[in-house]
């Protein structure tokens, strides 16, 4: 495992040296907090807490779709990636390192949202619920990590950037991340349970407040994880076949 940690460390170093990559995934949710949550739901402790959880979900989604979708696609084009395959280690440490580094970046990108919630709104959370929310972030990273890996392994980097941008907004809007629980427009409430963002945000809502999860959303989220894992596995093997077989 130490080799995976080495890979994670250097992945993080590379990311931190170009910090705009982190700002990128942290910016939109933080801006949405400032423009929509603070003025409209900021005074209501329950509404502000749920809205913060939604923005955290948004942040987790965009951080993962972008860093894997674009990062993996760019790495695949680099000769350095091939060079690391000649070192006496298989592809596993590099992959494990990438996912660990990705999780760290995801947590880092949440900091602005959490700070804004704590200082500018009435959002309140108990220490226990906060820890539960931290763990939930790890869980809901899974589908979006897989989605990013699908994009990154299946597409060249220029196409990956476009596709990542195309998918993330409809997923956020359609999953009801931009509305309070149960308060989205009717057609959103109708389609939301079938999107992975809905199951993810419901888990976050349940972690931070009094919300009972819609079983349909959870089942759909499970189906998404299976489908995305299958697709990511296919894209990964196809890429391995093209470059390393």
């Amino acid at each position: 495992m130490p080799l995976a940690l080495t890979h994670a460390r250097y992945q993080l170093l590379e990311t931190v040296r170009i910090p705009i990559a982190i700002f990128g995934s942290a910016f939109f949710p933080a801006a949405a907090m400032l423009f929509f949550v603070v003025p409209f739901a900021g005074k209501d402790p329950v509404g502000a807490t749920f809205a913060t959880a939604s923005m955290v979900t948004f942040s987790v989604m965009s951080a993962n779709i972008f860093q894997y979708g674009v990062g993996v696609a760019e790495d695949r084009a680099q000769p350095w990636d091939s060079f690391t395959r000649t070192l006496p280690a298989g592809p596993a440490p590099r992959f494990a390192g990438r996912v660990s580094a990705g999780l760290v970046i995801t947590y880092l990108s949440l900091i602005p949202v959490v700070i804004i919630a704590a200082t500018l709104t009435e959002a309140r959370i108990t220490p226990g619920a906060f820890l539960l929310a931290l763990a939930t972030v790890g869980v809901i990273s899974v589908p979006f990590t897989l989605m990013g890996l699908c994009i990154g392994y299946a597409l060249p980097s220029k196409a990956a950037i476009v596709v990542a941008q195309l998918v993330f907004f409809p997923l956020a809007f359609g999953g009801g991340l931009l509305s309070a629980p149960g308060a989205a427009p009717g057609f959103i409430e109708a389609i939301a349970p079938y999107l992975p963002t809905r199951g993810a945000v419901e888990l976050m809502w349940a972690a931070v407040g009094d919300h009972s999860v819609n079983p349909l959303s959870l089942v759909t989220l499970g189906v998404w994880v299976v489908v995305l894992a299958t697709l990511a596995g296919w894209a990964y093997r196809r890429d391995e076949g093209r470059r390393f077989s």
Partner: protein, 299 residues
């Protein structure tokens, strides 16, 4: 002892046959030059030997095992392409990263000093000159105290001084008992370093011999002329007729011209030109009755 072996190895990419039944043995302590034009199959052969690709047919071995098994690569050093260094990492960090994969790496400062990079440890690789990147790339092959290094075009783009410094480092490694497989499209580089040369062209081993033997083959010249009929001339290894021109390939062009003149035949537009490596080897390998200095590759 054989450290790297290719046994009747073929490699196909789609409909392109990049390697065709190639045999190669690199024995412990050898310094082997892999010579050939771009696109000849050198890189494909190297990719198979370092475990990046698997052959379509045939067998490759590295230290007696499958190169695709990480354990087989523990005593192997490979150069990355210089364009591939992670631009935001510092020189020292890149060395540390590679070191982490080996049980007993050379200490970072010692390695950097050996390749004249000691002053640059804190610099990001994106800010290095082309020559400095090249030196770092070659240095990375030596990090893990390898028994064998595979250097793909190690000095391409270097100035003369830097090239000679790098050659010294490669020679020193070899003098300590290290094994080197080095690819190049420069005859000069292979002559300066290697004892044995393997010439690759069109996916096949065209020649596998000592540097001297290869040099005499590569010295083939092309004598072109317009002529109706030619008597048989001594020393011609291959004759080609293209668009009314006759091209004769011979190691001694001066003697050939003398013979042409004394034979008394009518010819015009005589032209003598050195051949590229590719032409020279095509000339000797496609001639049916080729009288060549190079022997076929050992079975």
């Amino acid at each position: 002892m054989t450290l790297a072996r290719a046994d009747r190895v073929s490699r196909r990419y789609g409909s392109t046959l990049a390697l065709d039944q190639v045999d190669l043995d690199v024995r412990a302590g050898e310094l082997v030059g892999l010579l050939g034009p771009n696109g000849a199959g050198k890189s494909t052969l190297i990719n198979l030997l370092v475990g990046l690709r698997r052959p379509t047919s045939g067998r490759v071995e590295l230290f007696g095992g499958d190169p695709r098994d990480p354990a087989s690569r523990r005593r192997l050093g490979v150069t990355p392409q210089e364009t591939g260094l992670p631009a935001t990492l510092r020189v020292g960090e890149v060395v540390d990263f590679v070191s982490a994969h080996f049980p007993d790496p050379i200490p970072r400062d010692e390695l950097l000093d050996r390749f004249g990079l000691g002053e640059l440890a804190r610099r990001q690789t994106g800010g290095l000159s082309g020559g400095q990147k090249r030196r770092l790339a070659v240095a990375l092959a030596f990090v893990g105290r390898p028994r064998m290094v595979v250097l793909d075009e190690p000095t391409t783009g270097l100035d003369v001084e830097a090239r000679h410094a790098l050659w010294e480092a490669i020679r020193a490694f070899h003098a300590d008992g290290g094994t080197v497989l080095l690819s190049s499209h420069y005859l000069e580089e292979v002559e300066a370093l290697a004892q044995r040369v393997v010439v690759i062209g069109h996916g096949r081993v065209l020649a596998d011999n000592s540097v001297d033997a290869i040099r005499s083959v590569v010295g083939v010249r092309r004598v072109s002329l317009t002529v109706d009929a030619l008597p048989s001339l001594p020393g011609v290894v291959r004759t080609e007729r293209v668009d009314g021109r006759t091209h004769l390939f011979a190691p001694d062009a001066d003697q050939l011209v003398r013979d042409l003149v004394t034979s008394g035949i009518e010819f015009r537009d005589l032209e003598v030109r050195p051949t590229s490596l590719e032409e020279a080897f095509l000339a000797i390998t496609t001639a049916d009755s080729a009288d060549t200095a190079a022997e076929p590759a050992p079975a």
